[in-house]
Symmetry: C2
Subunit: 328 residues, 2 copies
């Protein structure tokens, strides 16, 4: 198996790369090569197979083609400009999130054999708001440019799959918590920050009320979903390549209780209410829940751990590296 | 009012241009200029205001910008590669239907004042098939590249409206009958042909059974809808710029009965059953009906005439010109 991860230097790309290096196989087939592509050449995991690390722009068709050489079996397309940044810089979002996906389509289509493409769409491609519990065939009516670009990416890859140019699985990822490192430019950055910063001993603002519900998943689960999507039989998907995987709808209050259970009341007290209507307007337009029936019952995507386990997993997987990165 | 029609040389563009020339005003405001843009410079109607006719490619940003000068109040974006052609030539469809709409977005965004943009999406952007009766918030899961490109156009223009770059109304047009002139490369071409060709005294194949249902509208109604969409107050649309206007669900058998009522049994006998699974596969994936509640009850879009009136209107409006064009 030859695999390429676009956006391979990011949060989930690096986790997936390390997992592939450990497993050395995907669905029982040995991995023979991995290409990691990002703006800067990404860090390479120690692996029993060759790993290429390329720096480049996903919106540049030639650079993307170089990252997806003939013989590529699977492309995991994670390269993206995230929500608040795509909202602040419309041109950048269109270039990376739209023209980038068009470049991926063109590169895959040029291969002798149509590769599997795993695309990460987002809960932000839906409207509906806090009280919504969306069915699998819900309409995507995004209230932000990032979400519009993700919904467009789904349409492009679905049509390209129908044409046989590639074989896409688009996962509408929930907000993945707990993101390591620093706060980022996603409007949902606070959802990780209210758990991560206290675990680092730092104060952090809470821009929404405690009743605020978020559709979340863990990074461990996201990586499991990627592995499943990279190898699953897509025949049963038919035309519909968009999958809402089984996240969990959790209120901020429940997340803070889990933090308290794992790290004590002092940790929870570091979270300071600081209402931010701009953040609440963006994240509050995303649906608070999905039924995720198709992914759960028909397609075999795995369920979330408990919130306490998610907090514990961050401590095990990412706390040390995050402290080092931030010199704490 | 300064108006631009992109695709102004086509079936509906020419009808709209002639109507604007006759009315000389839109919603009570005098028209001060009209630009018609198409691959070849379109025919210009006699009008009491200046009419520019430009030849160019809607996928070329500079040519589109020249067609949408500062001061433009309304852009009607009809330029498109139709269904069967976009299916046969993927690159052409992507270039005209996707990159073309991106060029329109860029040109409108560059204007000092955000113009109204009327975009023609299509019933082909939906799946569901013959038995479907789709609600206004139905998901667009197109089974053809043309429909995917139209659904993408809706997402682009909806997001650009939210950002204030332009002010879009996207009409998901039904199959417009009776199209004058020659059969074209739309998969739905036969729906007009089974009425037009007999009125010209010509035999024509019927690729689907008589029970086959099609969501149709008349060209007179489509032009009324354009005028309404060009001037309506869009405040009530909110985020959702996609409108399914009140077409009519009609079986082929009902259409042929209307033909017989207007033109006699000899006309109907010119329609020869000739099953074509390729055509039926494309058109059969489009929904046979929509509720169109929002357009009908909230937004004031007008209803269809009877099928007999639609046949009669073709005889009044288009039969002579079609005979001349085809030297009949
Ligand atoms: N993490 C989440 O909560 C979440 C939720 C929903 C969807 N997603 C999506 O999942 C994917 C991965 O998420 P993540 O959290 O790892 O994001 P991330 O921001 O950590 O990684 C994305 C990577 O894309 C790279 N990138 C940006 N512009 C690029 C360009 N022009 N060329 C090449 N690379 C470029 C970035 O450098 C970054 O390393 C993204 O597509 C994201 O939109 C993530
Ligand atoms: N007529 C229908 O039944 C129907 C149904 C649904 C949607 N629509 C949509 O409504 C619009 C108008 O329909 P119509 O029946 O008048 O179509 P049409 O084909 O008669 O007109 C479209 C025009 O676009 C022009 N065009 C194509 N490529 C171009 C390019 N690269 N640059 C500039 N112009 C280009 C064509 O020359 C043509 O004159 C189209 O967007 C169509 O997709 C039509």
């Amino acid at each position: 198996m030859q695999i390429t991860i676009l956006g391979g230097g990011g949060f989930l790309g690096q986790k997936l790369a390390r997992r592939l290096a450990t497993d050395a196989a995907l669905d029982g087939r040995p991995i023979t090569g991995l290409t990691l592509f990002d703006l800067q050449a990404p860090a390479r995991p120690n692996a029993p197979f060759p790993v290429r690390a390329l720096g480049g722009d996903v919106a540049d068709p030639a650079q993307v083609a170089a990252a997806i050489p003939p013989g590529t079996d699977v492309v995991v397309h994670l390269a993206a400009v995230v929500s608040a940044q795509a909202e602040a810089d419309f041109d950048l979002g269109m270039r990376v999130n739209l023209q980038g996906t068009l470049a991926v389509l063109a590169a895959c289509r040029a291969l002798p054999k149509a590769p599997r493409v795993v695309f990460t769409s987002s809960v932000a491609s839906f409207g509906g708001g806090q009280d919504a519990r969306l069915e699998d065939d819900a309409r995507q009516l995004p209230g932000n440019s990032y979400g519009a670009q993700k919904a467009i990416g789904e349409l492009l890859l679905q049509d390209a799959s129908r044409k046989g140019f590639l074989d896409a699985v688009s996962l509408r990822l929930p907000t993945v918590i707990i993101r390591p490192g620093r706060p980022n430019k996603a409007a949902s950055s606070f959802v990780s920050a209210i758990l991560r910063e206290p675990l680092l001993g730092l104060e952090t603002p809470l821009p929404v009320p405690e009743e605020f519900a978020v559709w979340i998943c863990s990074p461990r689960r996201a990586v499991e979903w990627f592995l499943h999507a990279m190898a699953m039989n897509t025949a049963s998907l038919g035309l519909d390549r968009g999958i809402s995987p089984p996240g969990r709808s959790a209120t901020v209050g429940k997340m803070l209780s889990a933090l308290e259970t794992v790290a004590g009341p002092a940790a929870r007290r570091l979270v300071k209410p600081a209402p931010d209507p701009a953040i609440e307007a963006i994240v509050g337009s995303w649906p608070g829940s999905f039924t995720a029936e198709r992914a759960r019952k028909l397609l075999g995507f795995s369920e979330q751990e408990s919130l306490e386990e998610i907090v514990q997993a961050f401590i095990e997987d990412d706390l040390t590296a995050t402290k080092a990165e931030r010199s704490l």
